[in-house]
Amino acid sequence: MSDSILRMRGISKTFPGVRALDDVNLEVLRGEIHAICGENGAGKSTLMKVLSGVYPHGDYDGEITFEGQECRFGGIRDSEHHGIVIIHQELALASNLSIAENIFLGNEQSRRGLIDWNRTNAAAAELMRRVGLDENPVTQVIDLGVGKQQLVEIAKALSKQVKLLILDEPTAALNDDDSAHLLDLLRGLRDEGITCVIISHKLNEVLDIADRVTILRDGKTITTLDAEGLTEDRIISGMVGRDLDHRFPPREPRIGEEVLRVEDWSVHSPTQHGRLLVDRAGFTLRRGEIVGLAGLMGAGRTELAMSIFGRAYGTGISGRIFKDGREIRLRSVREAIRHGIAYATEDRKRYGLNLIEDIKRNVSAAGLRKLAKRGWVDENEEYQVADSYRKSMNIKAPSVASITGKLSGGNQQKVVLSKWIFTDPDVLILDEPTRGIDVGAKYEIYTIINQLAEAGKSILLISSELPELLGLCDRIYTLSAGRITGEVPRAEATQEGLMTLMTAGQEARP
C-alpha cells in the first residue's frame, strides 16, 4: 500500500506573463485517494493538465514518474494509454449520443471496421453496473442529470483500464445525494485498487474521503498532509497563508449614503431546470464604497451579478432592487445602464470585447448614444473620448485604432473598464477584474478601482483572490452555494475567516 504510483518532481509551467507552476512536487501512493487543495488560480488544474498530457512534454519543466518509469506524454492519448484518466470539471460528453456510445467514444468496439453494437452495449452495461448507474445503455446522455453524467465519465474511464483517476471538482455541480453516491463510488474504486486524485473546494468532502492532502498556493507545493486528524482550519491556513504588504495602493475611504440595495434575490439556472443558483441573496452598496463578494467557483457570484445587470443571465429571477432608496426594475441591460449600473465581465474575450474591432469602438460600445446626435455618431468626438481613456488608463497601444484582440490581458481589461466608466455609472460591478493579468497591471487596475471609489462610485468587487478583497474592500460579503453566508467589515476580515464562511453551508444545498 505504501509504494508510490506517481511522482512529479520540480514541475514548472509558465504562461505568457504568469508563472502558473513553480517547482511543484507531488507524490501519490498506490491505492490512495489523494486530494489537492488550493485557491482558484493556485495551479491545481494546470498541474493536472501537465500530468494528463494536455500540456505535452517539453511544454513544462520537471519530470513525471508513473509506475516507476519516467513518462513524457505527448498528449492525452499517451497518458490514457498508461492508465491515467482525467475527468474535467466541464464534462466532455457528446450529449446527443447514447451512454454506451459515450463510454466507448474514441475506443469503439468494432469488428472489421463496423461497430458491434451488441458488444458495445453489453460492455457498457457491465461498466455501468460497476459505477452504480441504473440506466439503459442506449439512453441519450442529454436525458441524464449531471450526477449521472459524471458516472458516465467514470465508466468511460474504467473502460480504458484506468490506474490513476483524476477528478477536477467532481461534486461542484452535484446535489448532496449525488455527491454522496460519487464519494462512495470512489471509495469502492479505491478498494478495487484504482488510485484517485481529487481536486475539490469542498473541504468537508476532502476530509471525508481523502487519505492524504496536498496543498498548493501560488503555483507552489506548500505541504502534503495525512488526512488522519486533519482539520479544515489547517487546510485553509495552508491555502491562504501569504503576506499582503505593498501589493495594494493606499486609499482613504469616504463612504456616503446607501446607493444600491438588493433584497431576496433568487436566480434559477437557464439550462438545468429548477436548479437554484442564487438563493435569497441580499446586499447593500454605499457611495464611495468598495464592497467585496467572495465565493468559490460555482458559488453563484457571476450569476448573482449578471442577473442584477438587467437579467443578463438566468431564469426565474425574483427579488427587489433599490437604487437611491427607490425600487427599480431592470428588465434589460439597457435599463440597467440607464439606471447607472455597469457590469465588467469576468470573461472579457467572450463577453467583454469585440476583438476584431479597435479600441475606440470598444470604448464607445456601451455609451454610443452619448456620442451621437439624432442617431449619428460623431467619430471625432469618439476618437477624443477613447484617446483620453487611453492616456488616463495607461492603455499600452500605439493608438486607439489598435485592434483589441491584439492587446495584452491587462490592456484589454483597461479597455473594458473604460467602456463602463464612459457610461458614467453610479455602481460598478467588477467581476474578476484582475484574472489572467500580470502583477504590474494588477496594481494599475487596483489604482483605477480606488480612484473610482474616490470619485463617489460604488464598487462591487467579485474576486477569487482573497488577498485582493482584503487589500481593497471596505466590506466583504461571502457567498456559498448561492447564499450570502457572511458580511465582514474590513477590520475584522481575515483570509481564514472568509474561507470558513465561503465553504459554510455547502452540505445544506437543496
Partner: protein, 411 residues
C-alpha cells in the same frame, strides 16, 4: 482582400510603439480595388477596348443594378453574422406584386412602388421575426423563404408573365436622364450630354469637399491622417475614374437613372454603416454577440431590422428587374441570392460576421458583373463564365483568410 476598417487599424500595431506613425497602403485594404482594376484592364485588353466603350459601360451598370442593390442589403445581413438565401425569390415575388398592382389594377405607379416596398418590408419582417425573436438560424429561415416566396410568386402570376409596366418604371430601370441642357462638343470624343457632365462634376466636387472636411476634422482632433500627397493621389484617382465613366455615359445615352439611384443608396448606406448608431450596432452584433448584448445593444431588434431592410431592398431590386424586362416573371430573380452573397464575400465580408463594407460589396458585385460582361464580349460559353466566377469567389476568400492568418489575428 478584406475590408478597410480592420485592416487599416490593424496596421499600426505591426510597427514598434512610439515609432513614427506612418500611413501605409495595406494589401488587405486595397486588394479588392487593385483586383478590380486588374480585371477591368485584362478584359479591356482581351476585348480590344470594347470593355470600356460608352455603350458597354452603360450596359454593365444597368445589367447589374439589381444585384448591386441586393448586395447592399446582403452585406448588412452578413456583417451581422447572418445570411439571406431568399432574396432571389423576394425579387420575383415583389416584381409580381408590382405588376399586379400597376398592370392589373391600374394603381398609380408611385403608390404601387411604395406598396411593393412595404410588402418587401413585411416579408423581411416575417423572416426577421423567426431569426431574431424565435432563434432559428437565418440559413434555415431564408432557405424556407426561398421556397415560400417562389410559391407566392407562382400563386400570384400563375405560369405566365405580367406586363407591360408603365413608362416611368421602365425609365427608372432602363432609361436615361434626358438631355436637359443639350449637348456639348468634346473635341475628338464627339458630342456629350451637358447635364450628365455637370452631374459628374458635382459628384467629384462632393467627393473632394467631404473627404477634405473629414480629413481636416480628424486632423483638428489630433488623429493620424494620410500624408497629403497620398490623400491627393487617392482623390485624384477617384475623380478620374468618376469622370471617365461619366464622360463615356454622356457620349452614349446620358447617365442612367438607375445609376443615380445606386449612387444615392451607396452613399446613404455607407454613412449609415459608418456613422449611425444603428450601423455601429450591426458591427457590434456580428463581432461579438454576447459583448454587444452586455453593452446594452438590443441585439434582437438590430437583427430584425436588418432583415426588414433586406426585404425592402430586395423589393426595390424586384421592381427594377421587372421594369427592365418590362414583365414580371415567375422564374425571375432565380439565383440572384448567390450573386449577392458572392459580391459581399468578394468585397471583403467575413464569414464569421463583424466585418464588411458597403463599397466593398459594390466592388465585389462589379467584379462579378465585369467578368460576366467581359467574357460574353469575347464569346466565352456560359460554363466558362461560371467556372471563372467560382474561382474568383474562392480565391478572394482564400486571400482574405491567408492575410488574416499571416497577420496573426487573435481570433
Amino acid at each position: 482582400m478584406s475590408v478597410a476598417p480592420t485592416a487599416e487599424r490593424a496596421a499600426p500595431l505591426s510597427r514598434t510603439p512610439g515609432g513614427p506613425r506612418r500611413f501605409q497602403l495595406n494589401l488587405r485594404q486595397s486588394g479588392i480595388y487593385i483586383a478590380f482594376a486588374a480585371i477591368v484592364l485584362l478584359f479591356t485588353i482581351l476585348t480590344g477596348g470594347d470593355m470600356l466603350a460608352p455603350q458597354n459601360i452603360s450596359n454593365i451598370i444597368v445589367q447589374n443594378s439589381y444585384i448591386l442593390i441586393l448586395a447592399i442589403g446582403m452585406i448588412l445581413v452578413i456583417i451581422a453574422g447572418h445570411i439571406d438565401l431568399s432574396v432571389g425569390s423576394i425579387v420575383a415575388a415583389s416584381g409580381a406584386v408590382a405588376a399586379v398592382l400597376m398592370v392589373n389594377h391600374d394603381v398609380p405607379w408611385p403608390l404601387a412602388v411604395l406598396l411593393t416596398l412595404v410588402v418587401g418590408g413585411l416579408i423581411g419582417a416575417w423572416q426577421g421575426y423567426w431569426v431574431a425573436y424565435f432563434g432559428i438560424p437565418a440559413f434555415i429561415v431564408t432557405l424556407a423563404g426561398m421556397l415560400l416566396f417562389r410559391a407566392v410568386t407562382y400563386t400570384i402570376l400563375g405560369n405566365r408573365g405580367i406586363g407591360p409596366f408603365p413608362e416611368e418604371v421602365r425609365t427608372l430601370s432602363n432609361g436615361f436622364t434626358s438631355g436637359f441642357l443639350g449637348n456639348v462638343g468634346l473635341g475628338a470624343l464627339g458630342g456629350a450630354d451637358l447635364f450628365s457632365l455637370l452631374l459628374g462634376l458635382a459628384a467629384v466636387a462632393g467627393i473632394v469637399v467631404t473627404q477634405w472636411r473629414s480629413r481636416a476634422g480628424r486632423a483638428r482632433y489630433g488623429q493620424v491622417v494620410e500624408p497629403l500627397p497620398l490623400f491627393i493621389t487617392k482623390i485624384a484617382l477617384a475623380a478620374v475614374v468618376v469622370m471617365f465613366v461619366v464622360v463615356q455615359l454622356a457620349r452614349f445615352r446620358n447617365v442612367p437613372w438607375v445609376l443615380v439611384l445606386l449612387a444615392a443608396l451607396v452613399i446613404g448606406y455607407s454613412v449609415l454603416t459608418n456613422r449611425a448608431v444603428f450601423g455601429r450596432q450591426i458591427y457590434a452584433v456580428g463581432g461579438n454577440l454576447q459583448a454587444a448584448t452586455l453593452s446594452g445593444v438590443k441585439v434582437k431588434s438590430v437583427v430584425f431590422w436588418i432583415f426588414v431592410n433586406m426585404g425592402v431592398l430586395a423589393a426595390l431590386a424586384g421592381i427594377i428587374f421587372a421594369g427592365r424586362l418590362n414583365q414580371a416573371n415567375p422564374t425571375g430573380g432565380d439565383q440572384f441570392e448567390l450573386d449577392a452573397i458572392a459580391a459581399a464575400f468578394i468585397g471583403g465580408a467575413a464569414v464569421q460576421g463583424g466585418v464588411g463594407k458597403v463599397v466593398g460589396a459594390i466592388t465585389g458585385g462589379l467584379i462579378m458583373g465585369v467578368i460576366n460582361n467581359g467574357m460574353s464580349l469575347i464569346g466565352a460559353p456560359s460554363e466558362q463564365v461560371m467556372l471563372v466566377k467560382g474561382a474568383v469567389l474562392l480565391a478572394a476568400v482564400a486571400f482574405d483568410v491567408w492575410t488574416k492568418r499571416r497577420a496573426g489575428a487573435s481570433r
